[in-house]
Symmetry: C2
Subunit: 257 residues, 2 copies
DNA sequence: GGTCAACCTTTGTCCTGACATACGTCGCCC
DNA sequence: GGGCGACGTATGTCAGGACAAAGGTTGACC
């Protein structure tokens, strides 16, 4: 292969030519444009600071209407990848950011980071809901809920101690599935679409029991996270209370509107 | 079979009648609709689970076009307040969530919670940037940056120890302003529009010095947060490294798409 | 009496077209 | 030579219409 001399700018002389659309696809045109643009941005095919072809011409060249182009671009603007300026144009944001997911799962995070997560199921049972769980899952106090306690490790070292509560009967949970897959993965596979989550992060000192399970010393600083996740319609799906060793950090990219 | 839990709540008899629009206002029509709908939702004038008037009729009754109604509703759907279902309608999400801001400032958080934040400026100077700060602010290592260290308290009790680095000359900072206002507030007032931030949260044990300033014991669990904020165009504006006492928690509402 | 197809409702997608408004630049005028 | 207004450019807002697809309901048929 020839060394890449053309790699430097002259970015997208012809942006439209690099986008391909399939009108017969079930995926909407604006989404096709958005995902391709996003790919070009993360690959720096569209480098930070570069300007996109203007909306009118882009629409023209792609054979689609301006509103369609606008919704595609608007989606990326909302996610902080692009900036629009009236009278100027649309540019790729300068910073290279985390681009971390809005709603993350520890299992996926570890996988994505190239580490190999393993899970030990410590408990999988039904118990009466205490006040906190009952409030979170919108059931009566004392009503039965599924409780799940897991120890998550990576490369054989403990990372997190996770306690989750779920409505009974939401999905059949088996320990063997939980040891091979993340909870959110199983939920998705069962057709549960998680859409919103309330999350709270804090710090706490490890109790003796917690320290033993996580391989820390009693009193060590731990990261605590509680999360209640809701589906499409706002029904509570899962309430979790997790403890992470302090080596682990939560990273997110926030966008304000 | 007994009535399902999805019992219909009586919807606003006439949603359109409760919305008022001002065509002469500089604020866009879709935004006028969105903020009024949002207000009705948080006030439970539109209770969780209730259905909105369908888009076509709503547009008709308001004397605006359907796309305008759709962008207003779409905004609220993106924020997790509403759910759309084809063939069914648009409903208010069932859960009452935190609705916390995407990008929060500790000062504003405390104010909003009805507490009275006070700030002591410990340091305000220029220093050469170390490697971490230089990378975050996109300046050369050793280049001068503004460094700012503050102790934030509420009701006289220390809450956080905050170290921030900013590009020199971004805005004139005076200790007296910093003791009366939050940093983000001052940035906004200086015309800096913060739009994106990369944030990472973890836990750590307090050093002796940190413990002394925060009124904790050495080794106490602290919440650590580092954040780099960017403006409109992705230029780094601020890099902060904060320590919070474990009584403080970060709460957010996450929405996935 | 139960099943399933037809139909209605409502959102999803996309189009064309128009005017408003902010930003940058260029050239005129002082 | 410098300030400033006119103009071009690109996004922002909005209208109105058309058809597609999905969910729910209803009614016919077996």
């Amino acid at each position: 292969m020839v060394a890449s001399p053309s790699a430097r700018v002259a970015p997208a002389d012809d942006l439209a030519a690099e986008l391909s659309l399939d009108r017969d696809s079930p995926v909407p045109l604006h989404q096709q444009v958005a995902v391709q643009l996003e790919a070009m941005i993360v690959a720096e095919r569209l480098p930070p600071g570069s300007r996109l072809t203007n909306e009118v011409e882009l629409a023209d060249r792609l054979g689609i209407s301006r509103p369609t182009v606008r919704t595609a671009i608007g989606y990326l603007v909302d996610r902080g990848l692009l900036v629009r300026k009236r009278g100027v144009g649309t540019q790729v944001v300068r910073a290279q950011l985390n681009r971390s997911l809005e709603l993350t799962s520890l299992h996926d995070d570890l996988l994505h980071a190239g580490r190999r997560p393993t899970t030990t199921v410590l408990q999988l049972a039904e118990t009466p809901a205490d006040a906190e769980v009952a409030a979170a899952l919108a059931v009566a106090p004392g009503a039965p809920v599924t409780v799940l306690r897991r120890l998550r490790s990576a490369e054989g070292r403990p990372v997190a101690l996770m306690t989750n509560h779920l409505p009974v009967g939401l999905l059949p949970l088996r320990a063997e599935d939980l040891e091979a897959h993340g909870l959110y993965e199983l939920l998705r596979a069962a057709g549960v679409r998680i859409r919103i989550a309330d999350q709270s992060v804090g710090a706490a000192a490890a109790t003796a029991a917690q320290a033993r399970q996580l391989g820390e010393r009693a009193g060590a600083a731990l990261l605590t996270m509680t999360r209640t996740a809701y589906d499409d319609e706002g029904r509570p799906v899962e309430h979790g209370s997790h403890l992470y060793r302090s080596a682990y950090r939560f990273s997110t990219t926030l966008v304000s509107r």
